[in-house]
Assembly symmetry: C2
Amino acid sequence: MRTAAVIGTGLIGTSVALALTRRGVTVYLDDADTTAAATAEAMGAGSMAAPESPVELAVLAVPPAHIGSVLARVQGRGLAHAYTDVASVKARPHHEIQSAGADPAGYIGGHPLAGGERSGPLAASADLFEGRLWVLTPSAHTERLVLNRALELVSLCSGVPVIMDTVAHDRAVALTSHAPHLIATIMAARLENAADESVRVSGQGLRDVIRIAAGDPSLWRDILDANADAVADVLDTYAADLGGAVTALRALGSADETRRKQAGADLDDLLRRGNRGMHAWCGNRARRPPVFCRCP
Amino acid sequence: MRTAAVIGTGLIGTSVALALTRRGVTVYLDDADTTAAATAEAMGAGSMAAPESPVELAVLAVPPAHIGSVLARVQGRGLAHAYTDVASVKARPHHEIQSAGADPAGYIGGHPLAGGERSGPLAASADLFEGRLWVLTPSAHTERLVLNRALELVSLCSGVPVIMDTVAHDRAVALTSHAPHLIATIMAARLENAADESVRVSGQGLRDVIRIAAGDPSLWRDILDANADAVADVLDTYAADLGGAVTALRALGSADETRRKQAGADLDDLLRRGNRGMHAWCGNRARRPPVFCRCP
């Protein structure tokens, strides 16, 4: 790859541009917010001067709801030979691309699992994707050349490519990212009006649990909107476990010993399931996490 | 302080012993599990040889349910002039001390906010408490000398002392530690039987959210048992927000535009409350957390 375009110079777009520039690719930058694009340019992520001929790959790093319309527009002016995006939902943008009249043959969905609660070009880094999974969701229409351009992009960004179906991707991220984000938000929200003394009495555990709640509300509303049913399905399963935990906790003070014992056993079962789930997650890592897990 | 005893040589007890030994205090170690005590001794945390005369302070680093009985026993044999514990619940042990026939004048409750999902003496470190809050819960009976010995302990461990009422402490940790622990457990539990492909698609956010679910189930069952109602009260508030989030997510696909708009506004409100709660937490820190929060 010698030339690329990055449309949308937030955290992810600017990080992609920095990674490509570092590997010698000439990168064209564009953003509806020209201050953001100028910031990315000043950081050495590429140039705002429009390319004279089509670039090899354009990366659409715009909110999920805009992918269809932006793709139709930039394809219309022949910006690139291949197109991908970086949104954390994949099924709805895929439908919207078709209804917006864009050409699905030239497009492949993409989602690098990096970023988090920071946003904007100033938080960007050429190393953001190093060792991180980068999901690609080719459709039946996607051309082989487009898939291979996206694989090259992932490689240039030092990511780990994985091919998935759009619906399976969206269900997976509902379970591992979107539903946990809402739960972290719910826990953080309870601290808003808590006494200072209470909030002060918190350790590392709480910091880690609520960290992601600092994410940009507008971006997260878009994400939840685009993956609402899959997220609601996961939340329903949490609600069932949560109801069970409350019932068990209330029963621990019961005068009836059988109820008390059952409640203790139920809590124990939940805590052990949590341990096993943690280890299931850990065992699936390419790189094992630090000391806290002693997985065999 | 020249002499101390640590009863219970798990993560916290051994870390206290290591910190005191480093500051020149002669530390006597004891644990029902002699292998754990021998491990702590081999790590240089102190000596298993029984002290010839009462030590200045004994630290009971035993599970919350055993504090009353252990205190009565060691006071009975005149182990120390003052006693404290390190359990993460305070009201129930305080009651149990009185019903076990121990002398409340010689005791002060304590809770260092450090530790986490690791356990056992091998995970211990003399630096574990550095800069961490260490709650002390004197009762009306607690002698001034005992309070001052506990303050000296916190200082020798480089902790930050804070005096609290037992009930306020237990409500605070229900909000900031015990309820979040159960929620992390519920989220982790859902990964146990999830497809490998789904579990693989997870970023840093999930790791942080579920990390504490790796904690020791037996210890956590004891903690939840000792603080059950306060934890259930917090979980009830989470359940209400969770129900609201599911309703909003399901309504996002509604044909009725008014419902759809209301649902979007409700989610937006929740996400913004989460942001503010995160900043309320951050603003209460002695040391600001890393880059992710841009609190003013």
